[in-house]
């Protein structure tokens, strides 16, 4: 084979977001991202990049392109309506001190 290899560095491998479960009983938490040729390599790289000090017992990777995110421009429309609904919190209700276990 004399054809030169295509230079893969000219374009980046897909970006993956990495989620780590730090110990069983806890949820997976986003820790960062990395590039990998495929999902299996992303898991291997995530192990080297994000768990060098026993930070995890389980890794999820997902292609960044597959994540659907809310638009920061719509944050107000999405989240403001909850602001005036303080009656959703227990502290909204005044209960006399003598009443226990409530």
């Amino acid at each position: 084979m004399s054809d030169p290899l295509p230079d893969p560095s000219a374009a980046d491998w897909p970006l993956f977001e990495v989620f780590i479960r730090s110990r069983s009983g806890l949820e997976h938490k986003h820790v960062g991202s990395l590039h990998a040729a495929d999902a299996r390599m992303a898991i291997e790289h995530a192990r080297d990049v994000y768990t060098r000090r026993q930070e995890g017992v389980s890794i999820w990777v997902v292609r960044s392109a597959d994540i659907v995110a809310s638009d920061p421009g719509e944050a107000e429309a999405l989240f403001e309506p909850a602001r005036d609904k303080v009656y959703r919190h227990p502290t909204f209700y005044a209960i006399p001190d003598e009443v226990k276990n409530l």
Binding site: P8, A10, A11, M41, R52
Partner: protein, 337 residues
């Protein structure tokens, strides 16, 4: 982990022209003033974006190039314990480069572009890595002084206004403190060893002291971007403040080692309650940054050849991924047929 204030060498911020942009910039500054964090998809002034891209990518390059001087001693570490520690430290530096490249990418520059900037010589990295590691004591001096200076620079960046950079710095700072302690331990062992070992430690301190002091970047008077970076809360302390802090904590450590700091003007100033030190040779700093340091050419050459030598591995991984994807698709279609 290795950051260096290089801000004096960047481009000038672009002045905002339109009134709309000015209004958006004012809202942006108000968020910063209220200590809100800025996230990747939020509006930000172009100059803020460009400043961060420059700073984070230079920081990432410094981590990557920073593996070279210490990597030089992995095969010759004096014991298995020292070798295992040094491998772990160098691997951490590589990891730190990865965290930082990812943070920079959230601002719209690609990994490939950043590699290109490093390999072409267009990008700057910390000037400290253009000095050679001549003896084993240099590995100790780097951990103690270079990582010590880096920690001093980096801890305030954990509170930087840009979320992804701040998060990367938190992770890095957590991992960093073993780097400094293992370096000090090497220096302590040598300083308390034979006369020849003590002399080796002193020689390493002699060569690494001034370059470490220069890691804090140009003096405040010459650092024209400091004021803007502070307004944006990218930077929390000036170069000279951090440098002074580093000198104040390091001088007693050197005394404990019974090593002398190569600065005849160094003395305790009762009035200021700080150590006052001699003048810094900024000509050397600028010469090394511009490419005339002892190892600039060698470092870039090492990065370029590693990148070229790894090309077939990247190509093979890409081909393997494509083949696996095609097979998965074919078996899926076969099941559906």
């Amino acid at each position: 982990m290795y950051t260096q204030a290089l801000d004096v060498h960047g481009r000038e911020p672009v002045p905002a022209a339109a009134a709309e942009v000015a209004a958006a910039a004012a809202r942006f500054q108000a968020r910063i003033d209220a200590d809100e964090k800025i996230e990747p998809k939020d509006w930000m002034p172009d100059a803020y974006r460009q400043t961060l891209i420059r700073q984070i990518s230079q920081h990432a390059h410094s981590e990557i190039v920073g593996m070279l001087p210490e990597g030089n001693w992995i095969t010759r570490a004096p014991s298995l314990r020292r070798k295992a520690v040094l491998i772990a430290k160098v691997q951490d530096e590589g990891g730190h480069g990865m965290y930082l490249y990812s943070a920079a990418e959230t601002l719209g520059i690609s990994r490939a572009q950043m590699f290109e900037q490093l390999l072409s010589g267009a990008a700057k990295y910390s000037s400290i890595f253009n000095y050679p590691t001549l003896t084993w004591a240099d590995v100790g001096a780097i951990g103690w002084l270079v990582d010590g200076a880096a920690i001093m620079n980096q801890i305030p960046i954990c509170r930087c206004s840009y979320g992804p950079y701040a998060r990367a710095m938190v992770r890095i700072c957590k991992e960093e403190s073993f780097h400094q302690r293992q370096g000090f331990e090497i220096m302590l062992t040598l300083a308390r060893g034979s006369a020849a070992q003590h002399a080796m430690a002193q020689d390493a301190l002699n060569r690494w002291w001034w370059p470490s002091i220069m890691m804090f970047g140009p003096s405040d008077a010459d650092s024209k971007h400091t004021a803007q970076s502070m307004r944006w809360k990218i930077k929390r302390f000036s170069n000279d403040e951090l440098r002074q802090k580093f000198i104040d904590i390091t001088v007693p450590q050197a005394r404990f080692l019974e090593l002398s700091i190569p600065d005849p003007a160094l003395r305790w100033d009762e009035a200021t309650q700080h150590f006052s030190s001699g003048p810094i040779d900024w000509n050397e700093f600028h010469a090394v940054l511009k490419g005339s340091g002892p190892c600039n050419r060698e470092r870039l050459e090492a990065r370029r050849s590693a990148h070229q030598a790894g090309a077939w591995v990247r190509a093979a991984a890409t081909a393997h991924a494509a083949k696996q994807a095609a097979r998965a698709l074919a078996s899926q279609e076969a099941r559906q047929a």
